[in-house]
């Protein structure tokens, strides 16, 4: 919440002026029935034409003044709320850029997107409504009460009695309805979950002929949703009739008591009519207030989601030592010293007691069973996650003592799940190095065996890629991602199973190219393919989060049971 105030502080002046503007417009509106009473009592009843015209002129002028003031308020409130929304969105987006992998995993990217789009829009809407309407209803109420008290105190008591009754009933209704609406939201999320799942899994659904099964599931969910919505709405729709009832009862009471007073000569007819008018005004403003409260209730969930992200302390940041930015990666030697690692919220360490040293230019294959934490291990090197025990050194310096930019500039990484972005192929490649020349780009793409297929596209390097690179095949995507990382000319290159969709023929070529192009670069390759393992300088065998064996392939083939097993599972009898 603190962040909100920080942003809103910039709009201090508008925020201070706006209530006054609202007050003036409300005043302009609420004074009208009083003038009207004057016209009827002093003009009509006394047959005095000049009172009618003069008072009438006042009324017209006041009403025009009210219009002008409210237009000004609309401008101010639009400017403030949109400025606020824009600033908050930037703030949130920048915050997300600072988040670590751990944090992103925690929030899930889908939910981060919702927070940046729908949730922010909702909050922006709230600021807008607050500035325009929130103060209006209470002010209207106060002004109306002020005027009716002036007319006749006893009669005003009726209105004063009605207000708490009304407020209480609105409160009770909202109190009962709100939790139900929360449930509605949850059920809606569940329902959309079913839809999303079916969209992704349509092949599975169809191949197991589960269309009817899934439809039944959906029908059940949506009927539950329907019943919930009906239940929740039935409570909330009572609000309007209840308000109307209370106000109508007040009108009857006012006519009763007021009529009695008029007959007794205590009250004038015009005053009685204006009284009824005031009751109508109050009713309208209260209805508006209840609508605002509903919107607020909905927005509070949005706000919570935004604040949650804003308040997250990025679990990965530059250390003071790193900020000084004096350490440079020169060689690309990597040392793990008793490293252990556990994911945030995880129950046990996924890596335990991992120690090894890698020299400059070595190619290290990392192998092991699914879940043996191969990816987790290599992701520690560029500090995508921080070690939770022990230390990790690059060129003898703790990774935490490097500036993050320095790490990212010299460590190239191709992730298991890679993303390309909307834009041309060239734009995407240049992620690796923004000012790369065409020669550099081509050098990288040739090495990644991507140059030829890029040229085979009609627009070559200017071929527009769709979102996530939908218009290239899986293997092509991987090769583009490799080229992107190569453009960096990294000191350390990490390939996390990044040729799985590339056929072995091409993979072999890529590996040969890598050796030629980046002979001084330290390379980590996570792989399943035996010939890749066999061609590495050394192999690290991970088993259940621990280093099982480490050594040259030839050596391991002799000594490591696990490695032998992997090897023989693939090694075939070849003539």
């Amino acid at each position: 919440m603190k962040k909100y105030w920080e942003i809103l502080r910039e709009y201090k002046i508008s925020l201070l002026i706006s209530p006054f503007l609202v007050l003036i417009t409300v005043l302009c509106e609420t004074i009208q029935p009083t003038f009207m009473a004057q016209i009827i009592d002093d003009g009509v009843m006394q047959r005095d034409l000049s009172v009618v015209t003069q008072t009438g002129l006042y009324m017209v002028l006041i009403s025009i003044a009210g219009l002008c003031i409210s237009v000004i308020n609309i401008y101010i409130s639009s400017k403030t709320s949109i400025g606020f929304g824009t600033d908050l969105r930037s703030e949130l987006f920048d915050k997300i850029q600072q988040l670590s992998f751990n944090d992103i995993d925690h929030f899930s990217s889908a939910s981060l997107v919702t927070r940046l789009t729908n949730d922010i829009s909702r909050i922006q809407q709230i600021v807008l409504m607050s500035m325009r309407l929130l103060l209006r209803a209470p002010m209207m109420l106060i002004m109306a009460v002020f005027f009716v008290v002036r007319i006749n105190l006893e009669l005003a008591m009726v209105l004063l009695a009605a207000i708490p009754v009304l407020s209480l009933s609105i409160f009770v209704i909202l109190r009962k309805g709100f939790p139900l609406f929360m449930k509605v939201q949850q059920q809606l999320d569940r329902l959309n979950g079913v839809v999303r799942e079916n969209l992704i899994n349509i092949r599975v659904v169809k191949s197991f002929v589960r269309e009817d099964f899934e439809t039944k599931k959906f029908v059940k969910s949506s009927e539950e949703l329907r019943d919930l919505v009906v239940r929740a709405s039935n409570i909330v729709v009572a609000m309007f009739p209840v308000m109307q009832l209370v106000m109508n009862v007040s009108i009857v009471a006012i006519l009763w008591i007021g009529g009695y007073k008029v007959i007794g000569g205590e009250l004038k007819v015009g005053e009685l009519i204006s009284f009824v008018n005031y009751v109508m005004q109050v009713l309208m403003s209260l209805m508006m207030l209840s609508m605002i409260i509903m919107t607020f209730a909905r927005a509070s969930a949005s706000s919570e989601r935004i604040v949650e992200v804003l308040d997250t302390k990025p679990s990965l940041a530059n250390t003071p030592e790193g900020l000084s930015d004096k350490n440079r990666i020169q060689k690309g030697e990597v040392s793990f010293r008793n490293v252990s690692f556990r994911y945030a919220g995880g129950e046990e360490d996924v890596l335990r007691n991992v120690s090894f040293d890698v020299r400059q230019g070595e190619t290290i294959a990392v192998v092991g069973a699914t879940g043996s934490a191969k990816s987790s291990m290599v992701q520690l090197i560029p500090r995508l996650y921080d070690v939770t025990g022990g230390e990790l050194l690059i060129d003898g310096v703790n990774v935490k003592d490097y500036h993050l930019d320095e790490l990212h500039a010299h460590i190239g990484m191709v992730l298991q799940k890679n993303e390309l972005f909307t834009g041309t192929i060239l734009d995407n490649l240049k992620w690796g190095k923004q000012n790369a020349t065409m020669e550099e780009v081509e050098e990288a793409t040739r090495a990644a065996e991507a140059h030829d297929f890029i040229l085979s596209f009609q627009d070559g390097y200017d071929t527009q890629l769709g979102r996530g690179g939908v218009n290239v095949s899986g293997g092509q995507k991987q090769r583009l991602c490799i080229a992107r990382a190569l453009l960096l000319k990294p000191k350390i290159l990490i390939l996390d199973d990044s040729t799985s969709a590339v056929d072995s023929e091409t993979e072999l070529k890529i590996r040969r190219n890598l050796n030629a192009l980046l002979s001084d670069t330290t390379v980590f390759i996570i792989t399943q393919r035996v010939n890749t393992m066999q061609s590495a300088d050394r192999v690290i065998v991970l088993e259940d989060g621990e280093v099982n064996a480490i050594g040259t392939p030839a050596n391991l083939l002799e000594t490591s049971d696990v490695y032998q097993e992997i090897y023989h599972s693939q090694q075939m009898t070849l003539p």
Binding site: G43, R47, P241, V269, G468
Partner: protein, 591 residues
């Protein structure tokens, strides 16, 4: 995503009339209730108008003459009128709610069951986000329109007419005065609405661009981090964000004008009526009670006009939403089974492709003259580079797509001549991408065969080597999986997929790179399970790792959509052709 598409959705419906009747046909299931609602609306309007009118006799006949007795009696009548009105409104709301939700639920279910019947091709060629937003945004709009806008519009219109008649009855001259301000109000409303609509469209467009950017960058966040690209991304974002700010400001300003302008115009109307009414009253053109009633009406008169404008917009949006939903419902489903289609039952699993030709797009042929024959229980492997057409062959067997030329036979039946359900039930597919559903581990495995007992589920898990890891999950087979099994590793998810296929127990098995996301050691384990699973079943296997298919009965080497070599592992090695090279590359180390 949600907002990105609303550019389209907020546009005007294309076929208003047709859409209207279509929505009406959904509503017509509740015809009786609708009729009751209509009556209730009329009742509530009458009581409302009558209530306001009563102030005239109350002032003229009782208060001014000083008849206290009569006043009290009339007030009881007034109270009764009000009470009736309130009750009518409440029941009306409750019924509307019910009908609205029922209708929307029907639409939602129709949409979903239609979606389940669309051909696979549809999902490959349409954005999931866009489909999703039909369930969320579009349905929401319809639901709002049905529960609020439609009845409000009806009651606003009726109120307007009612008020008009009563005003005319009280004083034709004052009504004329009121009518002069009405066109002004309409004109202002139109002016503001057309302005704000223009800017809103611009706002929606830049919001769409921004949201697209956000979605892409957030889902690619890890890559952004790896390349240290945060600053650049932030700067790009800022540009779009500022652009949105400029557009939104105008949109919000103009749309914000609507309400206060209307309010003030209605106040102005009130003022004019007061003045003219007072003048008339002085010259006996109208009685005081009549003026009082008139003033009340003038307050009520502004509201419906002002509401009609915004309600109209809501209803337009709902129509546009409904059209987007009907668009899907009208989409051609998978070609229905022939009337004389055979139900495959107890088949042996003889699979044959005869001179098959096929492509996903008319201009690009993928498979050219492909023929193969798998005898029951046979294990056939498809080998070849990416894009050679291996997966395409597997896509054709369950009729996700239909062949252009040639035919596919199962146990001698052309697959076009058998029911699609029985065809698909005769085979199980394990894909490279793992797909799980929200639910327990057990439910996920049972997805393969719904009547499988717990023992059978465990048995299938054991067979496919999934049992040991499932046992170690916090709640074993009852562990809840969410988000496509995000809490499991890739390999574990695949094991569940394989177990799911095992429990289905079909005569034909299609494995598309089933083990390529699994490490070699686990693969070895799974391979044993798969071998057991494949026993006695016809299997078609695609694998990158040639080691996994060397014991296949027949290996087919595909290149550019054609079968260029076939034979057993040994035979093909002897041939020293493409297969031989592939093998050599894969097993030879980089010396």
């Amino acid at each position: 995503m949600a907002n990105g598409h609303s550019i389209k959705a907020s546009g005007k419906p294309k076929e208003g009339r047709k859409t209207f009747f279509r929505i009406a046909s959904y509503l017509s299931c509740d015809k009786g209730l609708l009729f009751v609602i209509g009556l209730l609306i009329i009742l509530s309007i009458i009581t409302n108008l009558l209530g306001s009118y009563m102030i005239r006799p109350i002032i003229n006949d009782y208060i001014i003459p000083g008849d206290y007795e009569g006043l009290v009696q009339t007030l009881f009548v007034l109270a009764a009128i009000y009470l009736t009105g309130v009750v009518a409104v409440y029941i009306q709301y409750i019924l509307l709610n019910k009908i609205g939700q029922r209708t929307v639920t029907r639409m939602r279910i129709d949409l979903f069951s239609k979606m389940e019947r669309l051909p696979v091709n549809y999902f490959d060629t349409h954005q999931h986000g866009d489909l999703m937003s039909r369930y969320t945004n579009d349905i929401d709009r319809i639901s709002d329109a049905l529960t609020d806008s439609l009845s409000d519009m009806l009651s606003s219109a009726l109120t307007l007419i009612g008020i008009f008649c009563l005003m005319l009855y009280i004083s034709p001259l004052l009504t004329l005065v009121t009518l002069i301000t009405v066109p002004v109000m309409f004109l202002c409303a139109r002016l503001v609405v057309s302005r704000s609509r223009k800017y809103f469209k611009a706002q929606q467009e830049s919001l769409g661009t921004l949201n697209g950017y956000i979605e892409e960058m957030i889902s690619g966040q890890k890559v952004v981090k790896v390349f240290g690209y945060e600053k650049k991304v932030e700067a790009d974002f800022e540009v779009s964000n500022q652009e949105l700010k400029d557009k939104s400001l105008k949109a919000q300003f103009y749309s914000g004008l609507m309400m206060p302008v209307m309010q003030n115009l209605s106040t102005l109307n009130y003022v004019i009526i007061t003045i003219v009414g007072a003048l008339l009253a002085i010259f006996r053109g109208v009685d005081v009670g009549g003026l009082a009633a008139f003033l009340q009406y003038s307050r009520q008169f502004g509201r419906p006009i002002n509401e009609l404008a915004s309600l109209y917009n809501n209803i337009q949006a709902a129509f546009a939403g409904a059209e987007r939903i009907f668009e899907i419902i009208d989409e051609a489903p998978e070609v229905p089974d022939d009337a004389d289609a055979v139900v495959l039952n107890g088949i042996k699993g003889d699979v044959a492709l005869n001179h098959v030709e096929f492509g996903y797009r008319p201009e690009k042929t993928i498979l050219k003259n492909v023929s193969l024959h798998a005898r029951p229980g046979c294990k056939i492997a498809l080998v070849g580079a990416t894009g050679a057409g291996k997966t395409t062959i597997l896509n054709l067997l369950p009729r996700f797509f239909d062949v252009w030329k040639g035919e596919i036979l199962i146990d001698g039946y052309p697959i076009r001549k058998v029911t699609r359900d029985s065809l698909r039930k005769s085979m199980a597919i394990v894909l490279q991408d793992t797909h799980l559903f929200t639910g327990t581990v057990c439910e996920n495995i049972r997805f393969g065969r719904l009547d499988a007992t717990d023992e059978e589920v465990v048995e299938a898990a054991r067979l496919t080597a999934a049992h040991s890891f499932i046992k170690r999950l916090p709640h074993g087979y009852n562990t809840l999986l969410e988000n496509d099994g995000a809490n499991l590793s890739q390999g574990q998810r695949q094991l569940l997929n394989i177990a799911r296929a095992a429990v289905a127990d079909p005569p034909i098995l299609l494995l598309d790179e089933a083990t390529s996301n699994i490490d070699t050691r686990s693969e070895l384990l799974i391979q044993k399970g798969l071998d057991k699973l494949m026993e006695g079943r016809t299997s078609l296997i695609i694998a990158h790792r040639l080691s996994t298919i060397r014991n296949a009965d027949l290996i087919l080497v595909l290149e550019k959509g054609q079968i260029i070599e076939q034979g057993t592992h040994e035979e093909l090695l002897q041939l020293k052709g493409k297969y031989y090279t592939l093998n050599k590359e894969q097993f030879q180390s980089l010396a």
